[in-house]
Symmetry: C2
Subunit: 365 residues, 2 copies
């Protein structure tokens, strides 16, 4: 944790930021080790260039924050306290002049921002989010281990889901059964709303699972992820129920070829854009360019969508420690929807694939 705070402090010195005031559960967790969803109550981590940082949370959570490993000051407040006065006092105990404050502009709401403007009428406010995204983008060994555990559970979920595919079952039947199986393994949170889509529904990149019954000759698409100790996985597999036609097979093979090529292109020094374009070119050359309407993938970690963004224009160079998804798809209305997604980790000289459910076309009989 201290290592992470030191990196933030270096950035603050470079940018002349006097105070960084973080309020999202994700960023507070990343730097303090304490995760909580405070609902409408205030949660904040306040960091200085030199002085000791402090955490602000409801009084009844102080014990949990300490138990999570936060050893520095905690400002607890009750429902009748005025947390902003406590914060002002604690800041001014540390530094006298506040000229520049870094905040999470996409997270902090106007009501709280107005409080900060009152407290620091002389200060300018800059965004801390870009820096936090860059810090979080490079995973350490402990983070990788948690993501790998989350990936293994995602593999299990797809496997279990496949075993539930039977004539007459609906998308929701299969979805509910696989989530229940995960809960019995102790999973308490999914990375996002699980998708089980079949037939025409799977041919939309953002379909909603419903009462559609799975029938022979259909493709079934699973897109899901599991959270393990705050770290997310994200997998997509498309399987066949019974025999599928040649057009469906051609689409599947094209997506798989693109997906494997993008994995092979993933290594330190390559740009995100090059990886995206490797997959995109294969799909375009096969005549399906118009049916692949989204980016190749996205970073993942504490959030299911974080840096790096794997788009055709992102010139960011890949580095050891990055974790992201590779998920090309082809969606041809009334014909087929196929997406294949793995989570990968950039190593010192290549790539490690973290999700392991088979990718050669699975035919469920």
């Amino acid at each position: 944790m201290n290592h992470r705070l030191e990196k933030l402090k270096s950035w603050m010195k470079e940018k002349n930021v006097d105070v960084t005031f973080l309020t999202s559960s994700e960023n507070v967790f990343y730097l303090s080790g304490y995760y909580t969803d405070p609902h409408e109550r205030l949660l904040a981590l306040v960091v200085f260039q030199e002085q000791e940082p402090f955490l602000v949370c409801p009084e009844m959570e102080i014990y949990n924050a300490k138990r999570a490993g936060w050893e520095q000051e905690i400002i607890g407040f009750s429902d009748t306290d005025h947390p902003w006065e406590l914060i002002q006092t604690s800041i001014h105990k540390r530094i006298k002049r506040v000229s520049k404050v870094a905040i999470e502009k996409e997270h902090l709401n106007v009501e709280r921002y107005e409080k900060m403007l009152e407290l620091f009428p002389q200060a300018s406010f800059v965004s801390a989010e870009g820096k936090l995204q860059l810090l979080r983008m490079i995973k350490d060994a402990k983070e990788l281990k948690l993501i790998e555990e989350a990936c293994a559970l995602a593999d299990y979920a797809v496997e279990f889901g496949c075993s539930e595919i039977k004539e007459g079952k609906t998308e929701l039947d299969v979805l509910n059964a696989l989530e229940y199986a995960l809960k019995q393994k102790g999973v308490t949170e999914m990375s996002f709303s699980t998708m089980v889509l079949t037939g025409a529904n799977a041919a939309s990149p953002h379909g909603n699972p419903g009462e559609t019954k799975i029938k022979k000759g259909d493709l079934v698409l699973f897109d899901l992820g599991v959270v393990v100790d705050r770290y997310c996985s994200d997998i997509t597999r498309t399987v066949a129920y019974g025999d599928i036609n040649d057009k469906q097979k051609e689409i599947y093979d094209t997506v798989l070829k693109a997906q494997i090529a993008a994995i092979e292109a993933s290594k330190p020094g390559t740009t995100a854009a090059e990886v995206d374009m490797t997959a995109r070119k294969i799909i375009s050359d096969a005549g399906y360019g118009d049916y692949f309407p989204h980016r190749l993938g996205h970073g993942l970690g504490i959030s299911v969508h974080e840096y790096p963004s794997m788009t055709s224009t992102n010139q960011l160079r890949l580095e050891e420690g990055m974790v992201y998804t590779i998920e090309p798809g082809i969606y041809v209305p009334d014909v087929a929807g196929v997406r294949i997604e793995d989570d990968v980790y950039i190593t010192a000289d290549g790539v490690k694939v973290l999700t392991k459910f088979p990718k050669e076309l699975q035919i469920i009989k």
Copy 2:
């Protein structure tokens, strides 16, 4: 819907608000009929004193918004459009001078607020949230019907949960089983994280369900709610597994007496504080005042916590159409935790209880 917009417009005229710019999914839904969770993308409903309102949403959602019944203008934007420019143009097509803008200060983030400050450098910004809370507080017949359906499903969930209580089962076993049963009835969303708590866990007003096994002589507390077409229910029942001791019984009887008295005190003209104090006095007189640390209840509807707040100090008078919870509790560490919660609706001359699972102590054998 138009009726609701007309009420908002009257308030805008009274307060000289030129533009109301709403961004939360809940308030946009309340006034437009269209619900979406736009994630990081912008969603907004823009309302004027006289001119036609417009909705702002991602391009791919326009069809859904229309299908949900929104007949007025929709500004759709793609990932490469600049929605703020489109908004500025659409506003200035309607009115030339913008002096006062109402926004959701607890919802709008600083990044978007800065865009608005750029667009309307002369304007002052006030909060729209209080007014929306007051509008949403009075439910119409359609809203009541949905809440009643959500309450019936909550009753079913408690009943099913009770049938799952057996020696050796954990809190999570019972919780997962009852949620799975709800999913099989088509429920796709709970009002909040379901709680099934037993023994010492139930003696904390904010325990977390876990691997604790239910054993004879324990109380088991269920706190859960179901969402039906965006409207929430919220029920708590505490049941006994096998025979419980006299102290546990005394606590149960005290909570039940307080809960029933608060229901009887609920009618138009009474204040929220009077209702809270009716229950609180019974609990205090029985010697448990220090063990009832929270408000009596909260309004519910599109949000699981909304107006009216049922506290000992809220002088708001009850009116026909309000829906709120009545949920006194007594939590004595290492002895017992009991809470009993119903959802109620204020009628023209009294109260209607919407949750119906029995409240006389249920003893599971």
